[in-house]
């Protein structure tokens, strides 16, 4: 029941009238790829969600692909923020001073499992870095 709104919600990108062109095939997302993403993103999906999200992501690729129409040459550099943020309106960097939070217990109390002021986690498996 918790996902009852699935029937209600129409993703606005569902119905964009682009043809699912063959120009996209080289980027198509396969089941194996999505299975990888799900584990990298650490988010479990039900079987129905997996099928639906796989289909939606492939549909949305056609929208994303529209970006390839944008020329990269020219002298307009890409920007991270829209409006400029010149130095004269920026705050100077703060002194690197440690200021303890007044009520750390308010932070710790939000964790589902705690002990002696620490958050308790399940085992963290040993991993060898490649």
């Amino acid at each position: 029941m918790k996902r009852s709104y699935l029937q209600l919600f129409e993703d606005p990108f569902d119905k964009i009238p682009y043809k699912k062109g063959d120009f996209m095939d080289n980027d198509a997302i396969t089941k194996e790829m999505l299975d990888d993403f799900v584990h990298v993103a650490e988010v479990e999906l039900s079987t129905e969600e997996f099928e639906s999200i796989l289909a939606k992501m492939n549909d949305q690729l056609t929208v994303i692909h529209e970006l390839t129409a944008i020329p990269l040459e020219g002298n307009l550099p890409p920007v991270i923020h829209g409006n400029p943020f010149p130095e004269e309106i920026q705050a100077p960097l703060r002194e690197d001073v440690w200021i303890p939070f007044e009520h750390p217990e308010d932070i710790i109390s939000q964790a589902p499992r705690t002990q002696d002021g620490y958050i308790v986690s399940p085992d963290v498996p040993h991993q060898t870095l490649e």
Binding site: M1, I70, G82, Q110, P122
Partner: protein, 529 residues
């Protein structure tokens, strides 16, 4: 006497200051109005729709009666003692449930934050507290602000539009806009990453202001796309929006993108009118442009009723002494949809990685093998469908191999969109605009589910006229300008240049004053009839 709850925030504050009413009395009236029109609040319990649910607004997730009463009484004590009062003293307001409130449940309408009580309060809420306003409720929204209709909330029932209960209120600040439209408080604070204040304001006949990026602090607001998230008010009058912005705007040491730029006295600036102002209109905001089946750009006209509203407003502005500049090119508007899509998904993916089932919010009750399994299961249970879709799409699009193909191009599209604004507003340029007037949305509010909408194509592009301002970082205000033949509100947007909120407020206010006697202003939302 006019009902207290239908008054503007400034009128409410004046009555309290003049001791004609008490803050507690006003709070009681407001809570009574919520009781009358709102129905049951949004909840994570299994949702079975009851017939009465269809008759109510459901704007809220939580009513904070106890703390509100404490604050109202504190204001009343200040009034009695003759102490100095904040400009919004005693005015009840609500906040979209992405504003962290110390000790008060904050959910972002997501199960993953079930039970979260933040240990701190966001800057906007702190500043409204300093202005002596009274926070009485946390409004429902699309989960993590992901949507334009409120249908993605995990907290059911979904918010309904007070003007037509089978229509969406817009989103993502839909609860905020619906509450204000239904006289459940004169002010709500929302957030806008692609139109999430302006679209629901247009759909509910309210005023919604998205300030310049960096004008209002993001500190303590649960993020969507951090390079575009903007905080602002939803109100019923332009003067109220000006008064709220005056309180919440300004540099904040806790948000390093807030600019050290002086805050105007917006309520005073309003009165300057539009005489001599250069108000522009662009053909690129009178149609929706998209790629057709053959990969060519096509365009569709917006709803003719909305276009005629823009024309009517231009005539009014001309009569008031403004100079109208036609045919301002904003040709890169068409790139906003795909570029917005890529950038917001990538930023949303990054922002959603903090929810782990370990530090706060929902955690799985199933047995887990290790920490990663705890993340996997907790996040699987906690995130709704749309959050999962967005974070996985963001992960996909942020892969290194697609950096140039997608992300870099999206950033470049953003620069091109910004360039449109730079040229239109350049004081030495060809157009020298003070304000760009656009429709807020291509259509009025649509019905739930969307499938029955008369023109689904326009619905999909509901944010094509609002997301460019998030890209450009510039301000925009949506204000009501009439009703459609179906009786649904229509909103116009006055868009401006960096830190020029005063100018767009002046334009919105001048229109509001010039049309104050028009018949459509006497029509009330159905829940108030």
């Amino acid at each position: 006497m006019t009902e207290l709850t239908s008054m503007s925030a400034l009128d409410q504050a004046r009555l309290i200051r003049e001791k004609k009413i008490s803050a507690e009395e006003l709070l009681n009236e407001t809570l009574a109005q919520v009781k009358k029109v709102d129905g049951r609040p949004g909840s994570l319990e299994e949702y079975i729709e009851q017939p009465e649910d269809k008759e109510k607004v459901h704007a809220f997730i939580l009513i904070t009666e106890e703390s509100a009463r404490e604050k109202a009484r504190a204001v009343d004590r200040k009034v009695a003692a003759g102490e100095e009062l904040g400009p919004l003293a005693g005015v009840p307001y609500s906040a979209k449930d992405v504003y962290c409130t110390k000790g008060i449940q904050t959910t972002a309408a997501s199960r993953i934050l079930d039970g979260y009580h933040p240990p701190y309060t966001s800057t906007v809420i702190q500043r409204l507290e300093r202005a002596d306003a009274v926070l009485f409720g946390k409004a429902n929204l699309d989960e993590f602000t992901f949507g334009g209709s409120n249908e993605t909330t995990a907290f059911k029932p979904t918010v309904r539009n007070p003007w037509a209960l089978d229509h969406v209120p817009g989103g993502s600040s839909g609860g905020s806009a619906a509450a204000v439209a239904a006289n459940e408080g004169a002010i709500s604070v929302g957030t806008d990453t692609g139109g999430s204040i302006r679209e629901p304001a247009a759909f509910t006949g309210t005023v919604g202001l998205k300030p310049t990026y960096g004008r209002v602090s993001r500190y303590g607001v649960i993020p969507f796309a951090s390079s575009m998230d903007s905080m602002g008010p939803i109100t019923r009058t332009v003067a109220d929006a000006a008064a709220v912005l005056r309180e919440i705007a300004g540099f904040d040491p806790n948000d390093s993108v807030t600019g050290r730029v002086p805050v105007d006295n917006y309520p005073e600036e309003l009165k300057k009118g539009v005489k001599g102002m250069r108000i522009g209109v662009s053909p690129d905001y009178m149609r929706i442009t998209y790629l057709d089946e053959n990969g060519n750009y096509s365009s569709t006209a917006i709803d003719p009723e909305i276009e005629s509203c823009v024309r009517k407003a231009l005539r009014i502005y001309k009569d008031l002494g403004a100079e109208i500049i036609e045919d301002v090119p904003m040709t890169n508007t068409k790139y906003s949809v795909p570029a917005y899509f890529v950038i917001t998904r990538i930023e949303a993916y990054s922002n959603l990685q903090r929810y782990d089932g370990l530090k706060y919010g929902h955690t799985t009750k199933r047995p887990v093998e290790d920490m990663y399994d705890l993340y996997y299961k907790s996040r699987g249970e906690g995130f709704g469908y749309q959050a999962k879709l967005r974070l996985l799409t963001g992960l996909f699009a942020s892969q290194e191999k697609f950096y140039e193909k997608y992300y870099l191009r999206a950033q470049r599209a953003r620069a091109m969109l910004r360039n449109d604004f730079d040229e239109a507003f350049d004081p030495n340029g060809k157009y020298r605009l003070d304000v760009l007037l656009t429709p807020s949305t291509p259509t009025p509010a649509f019905q739930f589910g969307g499938v029955t909408a008369t023109d689904p194509l326009l619905m999909q592009f509901a944010d094509q006229f609002t997301s460019p301002m998030n890209f450009a970082g510039t301000p925009g205000i949506s204000f009501p300008c009439g009703l459609s033949s179906e009786g649904l509100p229509i909103g116009l947007q006055a868009a401006g240049y960096d830190y020029c909120e005063s100018k767009i407020l002046r334009a919105a206010y001048a229109f509001e004053q010039a049309t104050s006697d028009e018949d459509w202003r006497k029509v009330k939302p159905v829940v108030l009839r």
